[in-house]
Symmetry: C2
Subunit: 393 residues, 2 copies
């Protein structure tokens, strides 16, 4: 796949991962925040469940009302489980907000429009039939759609489910991702690096990026340059994941453990017209698709954002990451024939500056950025003020 | 606090909660996604840790180079822990990406610019000193700031910490929030409602909203109209939380359990010029501030968004929720003297439509909205095309 374009590789990865994700799981409301409905949810009940009062006040029959009328208070209906007696003509009952409106009453007089003296109430203002009464089903009828399919759930969505007595629901399953970093030079935090060793940034970065994209990391390992260990890790990963991500080990040098493990199993190894992130490979290992990203930490992270994050977000039911057009704060040179993803920072007024050199080892530069500036393959120079597409990180 | 404005109540709540939150906690990187740095983080190391190769190729002394020069290959340096021998003049060594550049070498010749025959390599293209060599510290020097204070952590931020060997860090503690819903009419999901009973939506809604605003729910309870049970819940809540949120039980009717529990303890109970969410109270219970929201589910949720969510987000180090100006799709009437928060849905082209009536029981209408349309107190009518401030949910 020499000279494959970014868009061609995106399409290839999409094809490779078609059908990799899917399924649903049942969660309780308490665990559903941020998840996405698997299907439309219909209401099992009317909401409100029963005709109830919108105010603290007095339940009346409006046929009894005239300005200044006085009615005997013959009872009280609190907001609690009860079946109130029907209201008799020429009488009233106290009623609390949310309480059952008795049969025979057709309006509520707010307490502030009344004067109470012992057991009678004087009503200062008439009301139309239905005022301050919430009818059964006036918000939702049984069978109405409470939420559509593929609704990402915020607190207000969980609230309407709770109001309808729904305690659990089916959501889209999180895409299950295995993360394998490779390299004989890698060590973990807390270890003392010998000359030639580096701290593994890719494991941390990809695991967090998977979670940010709505996925679940079901396997994670760091493997040296031993092919048998890599094969063992791939096997364990394939058992529990929908897609496997590897970093490192795919360039043309020696000791390229991912290539050595996967090339005999039909991996496509090649180069994308892209910087950073040029070397890319894909494979299928025991039925599970594998995306192999290059090992430089900036390359790994940008490969993830370009090739996998959009697919994971879609599978998880999250909205796509936002892309905006900003204007460059300064001149930018770009390598001909390569699509560049430069590290930028958005400035006030819709402008963007580049904050890092192009080196794919510049992890601090990537951390200082908040957008990737997407420079097309055929562009070699951009001027101050030129419009550029920015992928918001 | 009759006729208190929304802004006045916001200010009062800010004063009440000043100093309620704070503190930091130490987390491992794996748990740090989405959290916020408590202070600037300085690098304990240079990055790169050592001078290393940017390419698979040959390490050379550029003083030896001329077009077409042939050099004997006297060794190989993989990317793994090792201290390579210094490069002797007139020789070269194979070197892998990321491997230690030996003393005496000052450039790397990419493998694609060479021809290898047995133990010698012909170099087709000269290189300047320093080309394809990544100097120690060229990304970050020891002591440089890796991340500023109050940086919300995405995967790229965790990556730079991991690259520097940092395995854990101090983040802002999550604001600890207790959630108490009240009402003799409330039942939980799965229960069969008798006439007069309703499913509690507020517990679910506020718990999820706290988490969405970066807080942690440290206590949650549903209390009937029994004052002793409410006092017991408040005590348990005060022990473990920075702020207590209650819903319901603060209006002027009888059986108002929150008011009965807190008014003797100095609660401020009153009415805000706002719809929904007019009735509001605040208190301090055993040293812990209490925000008392009205019990209608839409009132509770909008009260949370207006009065507490911005403060929680700030305390957790999250960016403020976005507010945008949209143009109304149609005419809107508003009650004079009350600031309305109407439920709206954003439309393409920067327009917004209202999707629900004003009733504070219309939970489905709120769930169908994605913005709150903020209509100022003094406005009674808005025309199609008028600009309105929208709070994005």
């Amino acid at each position: 796949m020499a000279h494959t374009s970014v868009d061609e590789h995106i399409a290839h990865v999409r094809t490779l991962l078609a059908g990799a994700f899917g399924g649903t799981e049942s969660v309780i409301l308490r665990e559903a925040l941020g998840r996405t409905t698997a299907s439309a949810i219909l209401s099992p009940v009317d909401l409100p469940l029963f005709r109830n009062s919108q105010m603290d006040g007095f339940a009346v029959n409006t046929a009894d009302l005239a300005d200044g009328v006085t009615l005997p208070i013959v009872g009280e209906i609190p907001a609690k489980p009860m079946t109130p007696a029907p209201l008799e003509r020429g009488t009233t009952v106290r009623i609390m907000t949310g309480a059952v409106v008795p049969d025979g009453a057709d309006a509520i007089i707010p307490v502030e429009d009344t004067t109470v003296t012992d057991a009678v109430v004087t009503i200062h203002r008439g009301r139309r039939s239905g005022e301050f009464v919430r009818d059964r089903g006036s918000d939702v009828h049984e069978g109405d759609e409470l939420l559509p399919a593929r609704q990402q759930l915020g607190s207000r969505h969980l609230a309407v489910l709770a109001a309808a007595g729904i305690g659990h629901l089916d959501v889209l399953a999180k895409p299950r991702v295995a993360v394998i970093t490779s390299g004989a030079e890698l060590i973990g935090p807390g270890e003392a690096p010998a000359l030639g060793q580096v701290f593994d940034a890719n494991g941390t970065a990809v695991i967090a990026a998977v979670e940010a994209a709505g996925g679940s990391v079901t396997y994670a390992a760091r493997v040296t340059d031993d092919v048998d260990l890599m094969l063992a890790a791939l096997e364990a990963a394939a058992d529990v994941s929908d897609v496997i991500v590897t970093s490192g080990g795919i360039s043309m040098g020696d000791y390229e453990v991912v290539r050595e493990a996967l090339e005999p199993r039909g991996a496509r190894v090649g180069h994308i017209a892209m910087q950073p992130g040029g070397p890319q490979a894909t494979a299928v290992f025991e039925g599970t698709p594998v995306l192999c990203f290059p090992g430089n930490p900036v390359s790994t992270q940008i490969s993830f954002e370009v090739f996998l994050a959009p697919i994971l977000r879609e599978a998880a039911g999250l909205a796509p990451a936002v892309r905006v057009v900003h204007r460059l704060e300064h001149l930018v040179d770009s390598v001909p024939g390569k699509r560049q993803f430069l590290r930028g920072r958005a400035l006030p007024g819709g402008r963007v500056e580049i904050v890092s050199g192009p080196g794919s080892h510049l992890v601090a530069g990537l951390a200082a950025s908040d957008v990737l500036v997407d420079v097309p393959e055929d562009v070699t120079e951009l001027q101050e003020g030129d419009a550029v597409e920015c992928w918001i990180l």
